[in-house]
């Protein structure tokens, strides 16, 4: 049994979520091979080769793979698929884009967003925004799987010394072209891997008020997130969104400020270890999942919190 894992990378850096995908694969067992596609710098391949437990790193260095276009990447994965029992990727927007395309090309049914490995053929995944958990088993010759990163403890990024091997396959399909990205730049930790997340909701009233949360976040070394209501109201960009249709986070500490706690939002954060809710409405559903609830006006509580943190 051997497993091929598609690496996520950005700006010449291996994305940390790859370590979580490798962790899920390691629970299945067998040789783990990593595929790095479109990495001109060679840094990503080096980082991938040093991940603990990885047997081999395949590098497909073609410009066509640089921006993760599914039309180019899926045929590459297909050409490499022979001999693998599982092909996996983190359930990032890249993995979610590419893997179903691959699965259909292989004529197999994908298993999306797994949160638990039961055995080599059976996996648990959330359905209905995490309101139910489904265990499915697959007898497909190749299991195509996306992994929810927050559900698996990252493996060590050091300690491995896998062989790096160049591969070819796929290439420019002529169906799609990358134009540009508008990525939010931030000095703060990345939302899905931050140990602490401070999120604001509709109660923030205005995008400018997020500056209050940023001050608290900076004192805690936290990332800043938001509910869908706050994103839809235009307070913050879409990549702040925590929830069923946004990002799923599971930090050690999640502080929800002015967030009522719609099912949609809870789906994205209820696996956090400790949840704090600050809301002036003591009936808000967020208090039902909060370990510590503070019924207060956030415009008093947040500056006070910043001060108290020194």
């Amino acid at each position: 049994m051997s497993i091929l894992i598609l690496c996520d990378h950005e700006n010449g850096q291996l994305s940390p979520v790859t370590l979580n995908a490798v962790s899920a694969a390691s629970q299945i067992g067998g040789d783990m091979h990593l595929l790095v596609a479109g990495d001109a710098s060679g840094n990503v391949a080096k980082a991938a080769a040093s991940i603990a437990g990885v047997a081999k790193v395949l590098v497909a260095d073609d410009k066509a793979f640089e921006n993760g276009l599914a039309e180019n990447l899926a045929p590459l994965l297909q050409s490499l698929s022979a001999g693998y029992s599982h092909i996996m990727a983190a359930a990032t927007t890249t993995g979610k884009n590419v893997m179903p395309r691959l699965a259909a090309m292989l004529d197999v049914m994908q298993i999306s967003d797994i949160i638990k490995v039961v055995d080599a053929n059976s996996f648990q995944r959330p359905i209905y925004a995490g309101n139910a958990l489904s265990t499915v088993s697959s007898s497909e010759a190749i299991k195509v799987i996306t992994v929810r990163g927050t559900a698996f403890e990252a493996v060590a990024s050091e300690g491995g010394s896998a062989a790096i091997e160049a591969v070819t396959g796929g290439g420019e399909a002529g169906l799609s072209a990358y134009v540009k990205s508008e990525l939010s730049s931030s000095e703060r930790p990345e939302l899905t891997s931050a140990p602490i997340v401070v999120s604001g909701g509709r109660g923030m009233q205005d995008g400018a008020n997020f500056a209050m949360l940023e001050k608290v976040a900076d004192k805690l070394g936290a990332a800043v997130g938001a509910s869908r209501a706050a994103v839809d109201a235009g307070f913050v960009p879409n990549d702040y969104q925590v929830g069923q249709t946004g990002k799923v986070v599971a930090p050690d500490l999640y502080i929800a400020v002015g967030i009522s706690g719609a099912i949609q939002h809870l789906a994205g954060m209820k696996d956090s270890k400790v949840i704090v809710a600050i809301n002036k409405d003591d009936e808000a559903p967020i208090f039902q999942v909060a370990d510590y609830g503070l019924v207060a006006d956030l415009f008093d509580a947040v500056p006070a919190l910043e001060q108290e943190l020194g």
Binding site: E10, A70, A104, M109, L175, S176, Q288, L294
Partner: protein, 249 residues
């Protein structure tokens, strides 16, 4: 250009789902059903393309039991021109859905397939990408802006780090995200008119597609509930608890 919009019938997003006692699935009997909210956004976008003169016809297709015709009627009431219903079990898998849609595309020759990025029941997020693969078409996924010019479409994708702009060759599959538009409500006169719009019915066998499930559901269970928390009196107490009790800061 013809636009094909696949619409899925799911449990209404306002309903709290209940897991069946025998752990075989979630309770569907006597539960309010509705069109998958992402598919509503796809229908809306198709209608806007027709209103802008980019599209001539909007065809809604739904795959599932007889009741799925209600979902098609909802799309027709919003303004779609006609509907196609394909009889199949409620829990048909995305791969089989994509194969059936491929057969519909072969019959209908649409220039664009607009579909929700995921269904809010199984949260699979697969059908659009799978259909694109089976047709060998380009795919624009998680799209929050769409501009069609001739044989190309400029799409804005909602990605983890922000937004990504790509250009895709038409015909194409576009899977829509929440912020693409705000779907319209069907007016009463349009709901009445929708009853008279054409709706064809087929079954999977007519289309020569094998829809047998590939995955076996072992069990469906409730997630572990979080233990009830406590209310704190003020910010000092909160910080104190986080430092000394939860030890997370």
């Amino acid at each position: 250009m013809k636009v094909l919009v696949p619409v899925k019938r799911v449990i209404d997003y306002n309903v709290k789902v209940r897991v069946k006692a025998d752990q075989t699935g979630v309770e569907l009997a006597n539960v309010k059903m509705a069109m998958n909210p992402f598919d509503e956004i796809a229908v809306e976008q198709a209608l806007r393309l027709r209103e802008a003169g980019t599209a001539e016809e909007v065809v809604a297709v739904s795959i599932g039991p007889a009741q799925n015709q209600e979902t098609i009627r909802t799309a027709l009431a919003m303004g779609a021109d006609r509907g196609i219903h394909i009889e199949a079990p409620h829990d048909i898998e995305p791969l089989a859905v994509a194969k059936l849609l491929k057969a519909v595309v072969a019959n209908e020759n649409p220039g664009l397939v607009l579909v929700g990025k995921q269904a809010i029941d199984d949260d699979c997020n697969q059908t659009g990408q799978m259909l694109a693969a089976l047709l060998g078409w380009a795919q624009g996924t998680f799209v929050s802006a769409l501009e069609i010019a001739g044989d190309k479409a400029k799409v804005t994708r909602e990605v983890d780090g922000g937004l990504e702009h790509i250009e895709i060759k038409m015909p194409a599959i576009v899977t829509v995200d929440l912020r693409l538009n705000e779907p319209r409500y069907a007016s009463l006169p349009n709901i009445m008119k929708a009853k008279k719009k054409p709706l064809d019915s087929l079954n999977a066998a007519d289309l020569g597609v094998d829809i047998a499930p590939r995955l076996t559901i072992v069990k469906v269970e409730e997630p572990a509930a979080r233990a009830a928390g406590v209310k704190v009196a003020d910010v000092q107490e909160l910080v104190n608890k986080l430092k000394n009790e939860a030890k997370v800061i």
